[in-house]
C-alpha cells in the first residue's frame, strides 16, 4: 500500500511523468463520461443528437450550479445540505415578485423589473448562506447539523409563502415592464440554453477564484488544515462564512434558472438536489475531508450524473433502476476517492509521533468527518 503512493511522489519529481494507473484514477470522471456517452449512443439513436445533448446540458446546468457552490463548502471541510431548499425558496421569491408585490397601505401593486427579481432572489440565497456560515463558524454548530436544520426551515418558508401552491405564468407582461424572466432558462443563444452559459460563467468565475485569488488559497489551506491555516494568519472564520454565502448564491441562481425554464416556481422544487450536488462533487474527485478538489472535476461529475440519468430515461429503464444505477456510480466514485487519498493521508502523520491509539484498539472518535462521509 505504501508502494502505490511512491508513484505519486515520483510524478512530482519527474514532472510530466507518466503512469497509466494514475492517469485513469485522476481522469476517472472524464473517462466515465465518455463511457456513458458511448454506451447510451449505442443503445439509443436519439441519445447522441444535438437536440438531446442540449436538453441534457440544460438539466446538468442546474446540478452543476449547485455542485460548484457545494464544492467550495466541501473544500472547506464542510457540507451544505440546504442547497436544494434554497433553490426552491429562491424560485418562490422570484415567482412572488413576478406576480406583483401588493402594498396595501398605498393601495398599489408593485411589479419589479426582472433584474430586481434576480438580485433579490440571489440576496435571499446569500442570506441563507450567511445564517449557515455564522452558525457554523461563530457558534461551532456542526455543518451537517446546521445545514440540515436550514434544509427544513427554508423549505418550510417556501411552502408558507405559497401555502403549498405553485406560481405559474412567470413570463411577465409587457404593460407591467417585467418581461424577460423566461429568457434566463427557457431561451437559447446560438441554440444553446441561457442556463448553460450561466453555468459556464459561474464555473469560470469559480475557477479563477480558486486558482488565482488569495481567497482561493485561503480556502484550500483552511480546508486542508484549519489550525495550520489559522496560525499562518488565514482568517478561517471569514473564509468559512463566505463559502456558505457562495453556496447559497449558487443555489439561488440555480433556482432562478429552473423556475425560468419551467416558467413556474414550485415550493417543492429542488427536493433532494443537495444529495445530487454532493454526488457530483465526489465523483469529480474532491475529498470530503476538505482541501482537495477542483471545478473541472465537479463539472464533469455533474455531467456524469445528468447524462447518466437522462440516458437511462431515454432507453426506457424504470425509474427504480435509475436510482440503483445512480447510487452505484456514487459508491464507486467514493471508493476510487478512498484509493486515491488513502496513500496520501497515511503520509500526513509522519515526522511527529501520531496521536496515541487507545490501548483498547478503538479509533479515536472523529464524529464530524464520519457524519460528513455518510452524507455522500
Amino acid at each position: 500500500m505504501t508502494r502505490s503512493d511512491d508513484g505519486l511522489t515520483k510524478t512530482g519529481m519527474f514532472s510530466g511523468g507518466f503512469s497509466l494507473g494514475k492517469l485513469i484514477l485522476e481522469g476517472r470522471a472524464f473517462l466515465a463520461l465518455i463511457a456513458i456517452i458511448v454506451v447510451f449512443s449505442l443503445l439509443s439513436p436519439d441519445y447522441f443528437t444535438f437536440h438531446n445533448l442540449v436538453t441534457m446540458s440544460s438539466h446538468v446546468s442546474i446540478y452543476a450550479l449547485l455542485a460548484i457552490g457545494m464544492l467550495l463548502v466541501i473544500l472547506n471541510g464542510g457540507i451544505d445540505l440546504s442547497v436544494g431548499s434554497t433553490l426552491g425558496l429562491s424560485g418562490i421569491v422570484a415567482g412572488y415578485l413576478m406576480h406583483g408585490v401588493n402594498l396595501k397601505a398605498m393601495g398599489i401593486t408593485l411589479f419589479p423589473a426582472v433584474w430586481v427579481v434576480v438580485i433579490v432572489s440571489c440576496a435571499v440565497g446569500a442570506l441563507i448562506g450567511v445564517i449557515n456560515g455564522v452558525l457554523i463558524s461563530k457558534f461551532k454548530v456542526a455543518p451537517f447539523v446546521a445545514t440540515l436544520g436550514m434544509l427544513y426551515v427554508v423549505r418550510g418558508v417556501a411552502l408558507l409563502i405559497t401555502n403549498g401552491l405553485t406560481y405559474n405564468n412567470l413570463e411577465g407582461k409587457p404593460e407591467l415592464g417585467n418581461t424577460g424572466f423566461d429568457w434566463l432558462g427557457f431561451n437559447t443563444l446560438l441554440s444553446i440554453p441561457v442556463g448553460v452559459y450561466v453555468m459556464v460563467i459561474v464555473a469560470i468565475i469559480g475557477s479563477i477564484v480558486l486558482n488565482r485569488t488569495v481567497f482561493g488559497r485561503w480556502l484550500y489551506a483552511s480546508g486542508g488544515n484549519e489550525r495550520a491555516a489559522e496560525l499562518s494568519g488565514v482568517p478561517v472564520k471569514r473564509v468559512k462564512i463566505w463559502v456558505y454565502v457562495a453556496s447559497g448564491v449558487c443555489s439561488a441562481i440555480a433556482g432562478i434558472i429552473l423556475s425560468s425554464e419551467l416558467t413556474s416556481a414550485s415550493p417543492t422544487a429542488g427536493n433532494s438536489y443537495e444529495l445530487t450536488a454532493i454526488a457530483a462533487v465526489v465523483i469529480g474527485g474532491a475529498s470530503l475531508m476538505g482541501g482537495r478538489g477542483n471545478i473541472r472535476g465537479t463539472l464533469l461529475g455533474a455531467f456524469v450524473i445528468g447524462f447518466l440519468s437522462d440516458g437511462l430515461v431515454i432507453i426506457g429503464i424504470s425509474s427504480y433502476w435509475q436510482t440503483v444505477f445512480t447510487g452505484a456510480v456514487i459508491v464507486f466514485a467514493v471508493l476510487l476517492n478512498a484509493v486515491q487519498y488513502r496513500g496520501r493521508r497515511k503520509k500526513q502523520k509522519p515526522g511527529s509521533l501520531p496521536p496515541a491509539t487507545p490501548s483498547s484498539g478503538t479509533e479515536p472518535p472523529q464524529a464530524a468527518p464520519v457524519l460528513e462521509k455518510t452524507a455522500g
Binding site: 488565482r212 488559497r217 489550525r227 503520509k347 509522519p350 487507545p358 483498547s360
Partner: protein, 516 residues
C-alpha cells in the same frame, strides 16, 4: 558498558530476556524514527529507557506494544519471533502499555475506562457491579480515593494518570510498559507507584520504564538503556551507573549545534511580555502560565527550557494569539498587541512556528511552495489576483534560504523528511518578514543534522536583527545559539542564565534532576 553483547543482533537469551527488539527500523515518510534498534526487556526487572525528546523512545514502545508495526526488524517474545497485529493482540500475549499521552475517554467514568474493550460480561450483559468492585480494589491498591463512577473528565490530570495506570494493572500483564507515567503525579503518588512497581516485580512482571525525571527513574531502575536519535547508545546495569553517565549518553559527545552569534549589539526591546497569565483550559482556577515577564531585544536569541507541562507552549501560543490570556499584556516594539488577532500579530511582525508541525504547521493537502507562501500570500496580490511570478520568486528564495531539500516546489509536502518539513514551516513564517519569531520546540522529531541547520539559520537571522525565542525540552539545545536561557517550571520562570551556564544548573532549575 555491556552494549557489545546485543549490538551484533544475536538472538537473546530467553531465560533472562522476556521481550526484545532486533534490528528494528521505523520510518515515517522520510523520517527515520528508529535506525536498527536492539532492545532487551529483562525478566522480572525494571528496564529503564532514557533519551531526549524525539530520540524514538515512544516509537519503540509503540512497536513493542503492538500500536505500530516496525518498518523492518523482529520482535522476539520468549525466544519466538512474533508480530503483533494490534494492541489487543499484544495484550492477549500479556503486554500492556501506559501511554505518555493519556488515552482515556473523558466522557466515560473511571470504571468504564478501566475495562474499555474487555468488559466483564455476565448473562445480563456487562457486569457493572463486578467491574466496579475490581476498579475499587485497584484504586485501593494505588492508594487513590477515586470513586469508579466518577467521570474521567472531572478528574485532575494526575488522577487521570492513576486511572491509566490502573487500567494497565487490571490486565494482569507479564510485561508492563510505562511511558512517562509520573509526569503529572505528586511526590506521594510517585512513591505509591514505585511501591506498586516493586510488588509487580516480586510477582515476576517485567517492566519498561520511561521518564524525564532522571534521578527519580534511577531509584527503581535495574537495567538502563539510552536511546539517542533512533539508535541505542549505551546499556548498563543500574549498579554501575550514575546520573552523569545517563546525561552524557543521552546528550552525546556533543554534536555542535552552534554558538550564540556575536559581534553586534542588541537593538531595542522587540518583544515585551508583561506578567502574562494563561488559565488552564480544563481547570480555569489554575494557571498554566502564571505571571511570566520577559523582554527580548532585537538580535537576541532566548531559549525557554522546561519539562513537559511547564507552560512553554501555552506561553508562546498566548503571545502569538492562539490561546487567550486573562492577565498581563504583550508589547511588540512598544505597541500593545494583546487584543490583536493572529493575522494582525503576523502583520505587526510577530510569527509563531508551532510545536506540532503536522497538526499546526503544515497543510498536507498542499504542495511545498503553497505551504511556503501561505503566511505571506497577501503580499503577492496584484489587483484582484495573485501574482504567480512574485510568489514563485519568494518560494525559490525561501527554498534556498532555509535550505529545504526538495525535488521542487511542486512536490507534495509529505514527501519531505521531518527536518525539511520543519524548515518549510520556519521558511513560511520568515517570509512574513517578522521582527520577532517564536519557535516552539523547533527541533522536535528532526535529526541532529537538520537541528544544526535550523539553529544556524536562526543565528544568521538574529545577527541581522531578528529577535528569536525558542523553546526546548532538550538541555543540550539550550547551550547552543541562545544568548540567554530562561527556565520555566510550573508556569513560572524559575531561573535565568547566560550562555556560560551548565547543563546541570539548567536541569536543577527545571526540577528535573532534583529528588522531589
Amino acid at each position: 558498558m555491556s552494549a557489545d553483547e546485543i549490538v551484533d543482533g544475536a538472538a537473546p537469551d530467553a531465560a533472562e530476556i522476556v521481550l526484545s527488539a532486533r534490528d528494528v527500523v521505523k520510518t515515517y515518510g522520510g523520517t527515520h524514527a528508529l535506525k536498527g534498534v536492539n532492545f532487551d526487556i529483562h525478566r522480572g526487572s525494571v528496564t529503564t529507557l532514557f533519551g531526549e525528546n524525539g530520540a524514538g523512545k515512544s516509537t519503540l514502545m509503540k512497536i513493542l506494544s503492538g500500536v505500530e508495526s516496525p518498518t523492518s526488524g523482529q520482535i522476539i517474545l520468549d525466544g519466538e519471533t512474533v508480530s503483533f497485529g494490534s494492541t489487543v493482540d499484544a495484550r492477549d500475549r500479556g503486554i500492556s502499555i501506559i501511554h505518555q499521552e493519556l488515552s482515556l475517554a473523558p466522557n466515560l467514568n473511571v470504571r468504564d475506562n478501566i475495562f474499555m474493550g474487555r468488559e466483564i460480561t455476565g448473562p445480563g450483559g456487562v457486569d457493572y457491579a463486578e467491574e466496579a468492585k475490581q476498579a475499587r480494589q485497584l484504586m485501593a491498591e494505588l492508594e487513590e480515593n477515586i470513586d469508579p463512577s466518577t467521570l474521567v473528565a472531572d478528574l485532575r490530570l494526575g488522577q487521570q494518570q492513576i486511572v491509566e495506570i490502573a487500567r494497565a494493572l487490571s490486565v494482569d500483564s507479564r510485561i508492563l510498559i510505562m511511558d512517562e507515567p509520573t509526569s503529572a503525579l505528586s511526590a506521594t503518588e510517585v512513591d505509591v507507584l514505585f511501591r506498586v512497581i516493586h510488588e509487580l516485580k516480586a510477582k515476576g512482571v517485567s517492566i519498561v520504564y520511561i521518564s524525564h525525571h532522571l534521578e527519580e527513574a534511577l531509584q527503581i531502575t535495574d537495567f538502563a538503556v539510552v536511546l539517542r536519535d533512533g539508535s541505542i547508545t549505551a546499556t548498563a546495569d543500574a549498579a554501575d551507573i550514575d546520573l552523569e553517565w545517563i546525561v552524557r549518553n543521552m546528550v552525546g559527545a556533543g554534536f555542535n549545534l552552534g554558538e550564540p552569534p556575536t559581534g553586534y549589539e542588541f537593538g531595542e526591546v522587540a518583544l515585551q511580555i508583561d506578567s502574562l497569565r494563561v488559565p488552564d483550559v480544563e481547570n480555569p482556577d489554575r494557571s498554566v502560565v502564571d505571571g511570566v515577564s520577559l523582554d527580548v531585544r532585537e538580535g537576541e536569541i532566548v531559549c525557554i527550557y522546561g519539562l513537559m507541562g511547564a507552560g512553554r507552549t501555552e506561553l508562546l501560543e498566548a503571545v502569538a494569539g492562539r490561546v487567550p490570556f486573562t492577565g498581563g499584556r504583550v508589547l511588540l516594539k512598544g505597541e500593545d498587541i494583546s487584543h490583536k488577532s493572529i493575522a494582525e500579530r503576523i502583520e505587526a511582525g510577530l510569527s509563531l512556528v508551532p510545536e506540532d508541525r503536522q497538526r499546526d504547521g503544515l497543510v498536507q493537502t498542499m504542495t511545498v511552495s503553497r505551504n511556503l507562501s501561505l503566511a505571506s500570500i497577501q503580499t503577492f496580490v496584484r489587483g484582484l489576483f495573485l501574482s504567480r511570478r512574485s510568489e514563485q520568486a519568494l518560494v525559490d528564495d525561501s527554498i534556498r534560504d532555509v535550505r529545504v531539500k526538495t525535488s521542487g516546489g511542486a512536490a507534495e509536502i509529505g514527501s519531505l523528511s521531518g527536518g525539511n518539513q520543519q524548515k518549510v514551516v520556519i521558511g513560511k513564517m520568515l517570509a512574513t518578514k517578522p521582527d520577532v519569531i517564536l519557535l516552539d520546540e523547533p527541533s522536535r522529531g528532526i535529526d541532529v543534522g537538520a537541528k544544526a541547520e535550523v539553529f544556524r539559520l536562526l543565528a544568521e537571522r538574529a545577527a541581522s536583527g531578528l529577535a528569536v525565542v525558542y523553546s526546548t525540552s532538550e538541555v543540550g539545545e539550550c547551550l547552543s545559539i541562545a544568548h540567554r536561557i530562561v527556565v520555566m517550571s510550573r508556569g513560572r520562570i524559575s531561573a535565568e542564565f547566560g550562555s556560560d551556564t551548565t547543563k546541570e544548573q539548567i536541569m536543577a532549575a527545571s526540577g528535573e534532576a532534583v529528588v522531589a
